[in-house]
Symmetry: C2
Amino acid sequence: MKLATLKDGSRDGQLIVVARDLGLAHHASGIATRLQQLLDDWNFLAPQLQDLYETLNSGKARHAFAFEPAQCMAPLPRAYQWADGSAYINHVELVRRARGAEVPESFYTDPLMYQGASDDFLGPRDDAPFASADWGIDFESEIAVVTGDVACGTAPDDAIDQVRLLMLANDWSLRNLIPAELAKGFGFLQSKPATAFGPVAVTPDEIGAAWRGGRVHLSVESRWNGQRVGLCEAGPEMTFHFGQLIAHVAKTRRLAAGSIVGSGTVSNKDLSHGYSCIAEKRALEMIESGAPATPFMQHGDTIRIEVLGTDGQSVFGAIEQQVRIGGRAAQRGASAGAEALGAGSGGR
Amino acid sequence: MKLATLKDGSRDGQLIVVARDLGLAHHASGIATRLQQLLDDWNFLAPQLQDLYETLNSGKARHAFAFEPAQCMAPLPRAYQWADGSAYINHVELVRRARGAEVPESFYTDPLMYQGASDDFLGPRDDAPFASADWGIDFESEIAVVTGDVACGTAPDDAIDQVRLLMLANDWSLRNLIPAELAKGFGFLQSKPATAFGPVAVTPDEIGAAWRGGRVHLSVESRWNGQRVGLCEAGPEMTFHFGQLIAHVAKTRRLAAGSIVGSGTVSNKDLSHGYSCIAEKRALEMIESGAPATPFMQHGDTIRIEVLGTDGQSVFGAIEQQVRIGGRAAQRGASAGAEALGAGSGGR
């Protein structure tokens, strides 16, 4: 099934069920009002929502309404955990090679992950606000999963079974703040501002055989100012699958239901796939010519991220965000990139 | 006012108001059932709870019952954010000196903080479970605050006004996992398992003039296996006050109501105050004799943390936890340290 959260003025929004083709939606209020509620009591509530979902898909839901991604918050507008990985080792290799550093051998067997902030996520169409473009504003197109309760010490293959939902994420990064922050030794804090999520969270069965081995075998498209800059395969080159990422977090403690675990920037060795974050493009430029040439994002820049299923339909709907610097309102439609905002398929 | 959360089988427990002397308590259910609910709607709900608190303190609450810390969860059993600082620079200096490293000049002006996990906290009397004593089990006695909504870019002095509640924390640390994890560059994940919190969260006015300048000017007592190992002053040597810590997190993003911000291990230059974590004791031994002599915690070890107000009464109640290794149940009362569990004042 597919689920989303509508803006209603409250902190957690209103849970809705969304039809497979993202055309219609239906309030879930008779069953659950918030997505976290479903995750807290999955076995009891999920079958009831699945029934509603099937009724909606069959065109028989009596109070269906048009689904509008612009009215969505992140599926979980706030969560109890956001642990993000860097599971595509190609990304790590590129970034390290650009600064002349080796990739430690352990990085191929031990996932690189960080604890992110989860108290305030951005919706799929929310502006991304920053005080300064000097911070080095970058998108990161990612896949994320939402877990059920995970026991401490759960094995990677068992952890796959605790994946309740799949989501699309834009893990905003402030590249120019990262070197000094990581040099302090305690990880990201200021350099990873609020993450955005795609409009719809889906159960793994929604992508059929594309969900296998704890990986999403579909491509993630990233359009920066209307230009397709990446169409990266999320499956085969994911060095650590989601079960491994979850198990890594669960090595020394439990994970509570509703924990979000991310894949990190989707990245492929074959350069024809493009990139899912500007840092990677700049790393390539650094390797090729000794200096980065592509600037980071500026006021009014747009980013659109989407994943199509094997049937060609949008799985999660699209993330479509515009960068806003300082107090200035982003001028929707005024920037070159905004033209492309209406160009993609599905999700609206 | 003083607030706590009773175990009731649910994930968020049941909000109660606790009398100033921690003797009696009263359900807050007519006003709010969960602590997060209060934080989400502070201005409307806090005055109603304050009224109930005053009625309880005057002995006129009709359905008061005996307060029992052993029945408490953490005041926020799960939260949307836990960002922990290392605000006592003496602790950083000691640990660095022990390994022959300098403290960078920036550490005196730029707070060292990390994003912690907030999905699953331990209650004040819950066993602390670990798979292996080889992980280097250590307590960390800390003060923490719970914030209201904090706007992005809030100044340090303004951020002090967003402190809603004060808490006592035991930030469990796995010292032997830290070096390898921090060497990866992305901060703590496995080496910081579930944090425990004291039974009662209090509004800053509860400690009167001891809350000033964004710091708690009281002493934190740590008893390890019944021995007092630390009585550290939390106020004067806190290099960065809580407003500075909150503002540091809020530099690039908002903080949502209910965010928890920690002080890090309370630490004093004057060695007669003892220590608030074993790592500091071992650092001193390293500096003095070239090798640490004090082992980390073992199965059955106990830790008791408490803060007395200027009136001599327990402010938060005591954290009293026992280390449990593997599947073995901790033998309460069987270890040497357990004798001391009944020795402290207040909080029960």
